[in-house]
């Protein structure tokens, strides 16, 4: 029981990170209907920015933890959004209105580019930072197992919940949200109504990148080790999460992320760690067989 609880905490933390990245996929998919394959690498870029920022802060002897984390978050969000903007501008905007596959290939190219750019400029070695937050709370002690939740895990789950609420508000209540949803429905019509579609799409990419930036900072704080390869693995998992939850749906992305985190943890905990990826994808396929638009996706009525 205690063991299961611990695995639940692990799974939730992992799932929260996947969820944060998955929202980026889902938002971009919602608005222009493309899989932004480079999104995982945007997340990786932000993790590197976080490493640099943390190291700089340490060099200036800024030790106040809330200050440091806030500063790093701001820096990471700022620069990563710039990357999100630039990627859209360079690799996707010229392809708007072409076939569905063209932006996908461009995105794969962008992903290769970003990985290698980071490898070249930042080096191939892993980047470790000293633990930022240490310790945690002991939740439950049984004779043979102690359930702990680390402060970082609490931080990640909290931040995710806050962002989730904030984004739901942003999309449903603000004028930007309305514009964004309007573009999702029909971008030509939206443009005719005098809304700057290009700007809305750019903003969406920047917001997606900002969320990836938060995820990048959280991962840096939590795992403490970053390399140029992390974007690929996390990207695929997050993409799977977005689809599982129903691509285009914000709560769906979060739910998908959490589910994948939990499936991975519990499969590895009770069955075999070797086949946990097989389990994840098999469950995805099963879900899609019965709900072809994912768990929370709006079922696509065959419009005849």
């Amino acid at each position: 029981m205690a063991y299961a609880l611990q695995q639940l905490i692990n799974g939730l933390t992992l799932g929260a990170v996947y969820g944060l990245i998955a929202i980026g996929y889902t938002m971009v998919y919602g608005i222009i209907g493309m899989i932004n394959f480079a999104h995982g690498d945007i997340f990786m870029v932000s993790a590197f920015i976080a490493v640099t920022a943390f190291t700089l802060l340490a060099a200036f002897d800024i030790t106040s933890l809330p200050l440091a984390i806030t500063a790093v978050l701001i820096v990471a969000i700022f620069f990563t959004s710039a990357y999100g903007w630039a990627v859209e501008r360079m690799a996707y905007r010229p392809l708007r209105g072409s076939t569905r596959l063209a932006p996908l290939i461009s995105a794969i190219g962008m992903s290769i580019f970003l990985q290698n750019m980071v490898q070249l400029t930042q080096g191939a070695r892993v980047k470790p930072i000293p633990p930022v937050i240490e310790g945690g709370i002991v939740l439950w002690t049984t004779p043979d197992f102690t359930v702990q939740i680390a402060w970082t895990q609490i931080l990640i789950i909290l931040v995710t919940v806050v962002l989730m609420v904030a984004f739901t508000w942003l999309i449903t209540q603000t004028s930007f949200g309305r514009q964004q949803r309007a573009c999702e429905q029909d971008s030509t019509m939206t443009a005719l109504l005098g809304i700057n579609v290009d700007r809305t799409i750019s903003l969406t990419f920047m917001l997606g990148a900002a969320l990836a930036a938060v995820a990048g900072v959280m991962v840096t704080v939590y795992y403490g080790v970053v390399d140029f390869y992390i974007g690929f693995v996390a990207g695929i998992k997050a993409f799977t999460a977005a689809v599982l939850g129903g691509i285009g749906s914000l709560p769906g992305a979060m739910l998908g992320g959490l589910l994948i985190g939990l499936i991975e943890s519990f499969w590895a905990a009770y069955l075999s760690a070797e086949y946990k990826d097989v389990a994840t994808f098999a469950i995805l396929i099963l879900v899609l067989m019965f709900r072809p638009s994912g768990l929370l996706g709006r079922p696509e009525v065959e419009k005849v």
């Binding site: 998919y29 620069f79 690799a91 569905r100 996908l104 930042q122 067989m289």
Partner: protein, 433 residues
């Protein structure tokens, strides 16, 4: 890299200057965290070092590059606008045909021109493997319009089928080839079945997942696949039973002894090259012919409009499954050849990035275009190879090139479609009867 931004027409020098300044500013923003700073490991802890000189150079290069690019583009546009009255005759079909024969000619005589250069022949072999894979995937993606991000799974199934049939039952290349094709086709149907209802990007992620499932199983099911150690000592194909070996088994002939030649490793390389050339050409013939058959037309119709297909009484399930099966089978054949050529296979050769490259070949080539696949395979395989001189920059250039080609030609290098039947020709045929 910033030079990709194709903005509105900047005509006046001031506008051009402003535009370039904006690009330089973006370059600065992007450059600060990546180019301007880096962390280095010093005695067990990271320290930030700055490279503001490099950053300045990067920003300056972006500015200059953008400025020059816009200038050239403007010149080009002015000139093009001036000439725009001349009507362009679409001769793509003719050009493609000539190009095709040209490339075939080069392909046929390539080993003769480079008979002592195993690198060239071997690289050409790699190109041909990708051409074959591209033609196979073209059936699924280009013709039937089903996005498949896990094509490498079938390539793996083919390769492992041969490797296992050989290790356990001693099957030769030629015996295993059809078996592996059938096996891969079976897997194609296996994948196709549960996902018939899925569309577009849902299909993409499921196929991606399928590819990963196959790879993870190959890594973990050690009893079957020998796990990450892979399977080695896979025999090379023989020429009508003549092996390409220095020391043939007692009482047997090898290629070299049979023809009274001195043994050379090049014989086998060249033989493998011609073998894949023949396999690829057969694939091309096969796919081109299928395209003109009901099943091929049904694939294209499916790509165009699935609902209309149903309304025409077409069994969409069968059409999809046949596309998956045929595509998978061709991938399986390529896999057998790959296993035979490498002599050693392990799950590392069948990762997602492989699927991505094959898909990129199909899309860059121009979906559905057989000749486009050839061009794209040439570009995507030769680029990293030529890039070997640039060492660590080569994959960077590769990624950049993928983006640039896509932006330059969003519908692929060769995007014109050749009808499968023409009224004029067809009536002539019908009239003779």
């Amino acid at each position: 890299m910033s030079a990709v931004i194709v903005a509105r027409h900047a005509r006046t020098p001031t506008e051009r200057f402003k535009d370039a300044a904006w690009v330089a500013f973006v370059a600065l923003l992007l450059g600060i965290p990546m180019v301007g700073m880096t962390t280095v490991d010093q005695g067990g802890a990271l320290v930030v070092t700055t490279r503001f000189g490099v950053l300045a150079a990067f920003v300056a290069a972006s500015f200059a590059g953008r400025f020059a690019f816009r200038w050239v583009m403007d010149q080009y546009r002015t000139r093009r606008d001036a000439k725009s009255t001349t009507v362009k005759v679409d001769r793509t079909a003719k050009v493609v045909q000539v190009l095709g024969w040209g490339i075939l000619g080069v392909a046929l005589f390539l080993p003769a021109m480079y008979s002592d250069n195993r690198y060239v022949v071997d690289t050409a072999t790699t190109v041909l493997i990708y051409v074959m894979l591209g033609w196979g995937l073209n059936v699924v993606v280009g013709l039937a319009g089903l996005l498949d991000l896990g094509y490498v799974a079938f390539y793996a199934v083919g390769a492992y089928t041969y490797a296992l049939l050989f290790t356990h039952f001693g099957w030769t290349f030629w015996e295993a080839l059809p078996a592996a094709g059938a096996m891969a086709a079976t897997f194609g149907i296996l994948l196709g079945y549960p996902i018939l209802r899925l569309r577009g990007d849902y299909l993409a992620i499921v196929t991606l997942g399928f590819g990963e499932i196959i790879r993870v199983i190959l890594v973990n099911w050690t009893e079957l696949s020998n796990g990450p150690n892979g399977i080695g000592s896979i025999p090379r194909p023989t020429l009508f039973g003549l092996p390409f070996e220095r020391n043939p088994a007692e009482g047997e002939q090898s290629f070299a002894t049979f023809f009274g030649l001195e043994f050379s490793g090049m014989h086998r390389i060249i033989f493998l090259y011609y073998l894949i050339l023949v396999l690829a050409l057969l694939t091309n013939l096969f796919v081109s012919r299928l395209r003109k058959l009901p099943v091929g037309r049904a694939w294209e119709a499916l790509r165009e409009d699935e609902i209309a297909c149903k309304a025409m009484g077409m069994n969409v399930t069968n059409v999809k499954l046949s596309a998956f099966a045929i595509g998978a089978m061709l991938g399986g054949f390529a896999g057998v050849f790959f296993a035979a050529r490498q002599g050693f296979i392990s799950p590392e050769s069948f990762t997602f990035s492989e699927s991505a490259i094959i898909l990129a070949i199909v899309v860059l080539g121009g979906m559905g275009s057989q000749m486009g696949v050839v061009l794209a395979a040439l570009v995507l395989v030769l680029l990293p190879e030529l890039g070997r001189n640039f060492a660590e920059y080569r994959m960077l250039l590769f990624g950049t090139a993928m983006v640039l080609i896509m932006v330059w030609k969003p519908s692929g290098l060769l995007s014109s479609r050749e009808p499968t039947i023409r009224l004029a020709k067809a009536s002539a045929m019908g009239g003779q009867k």
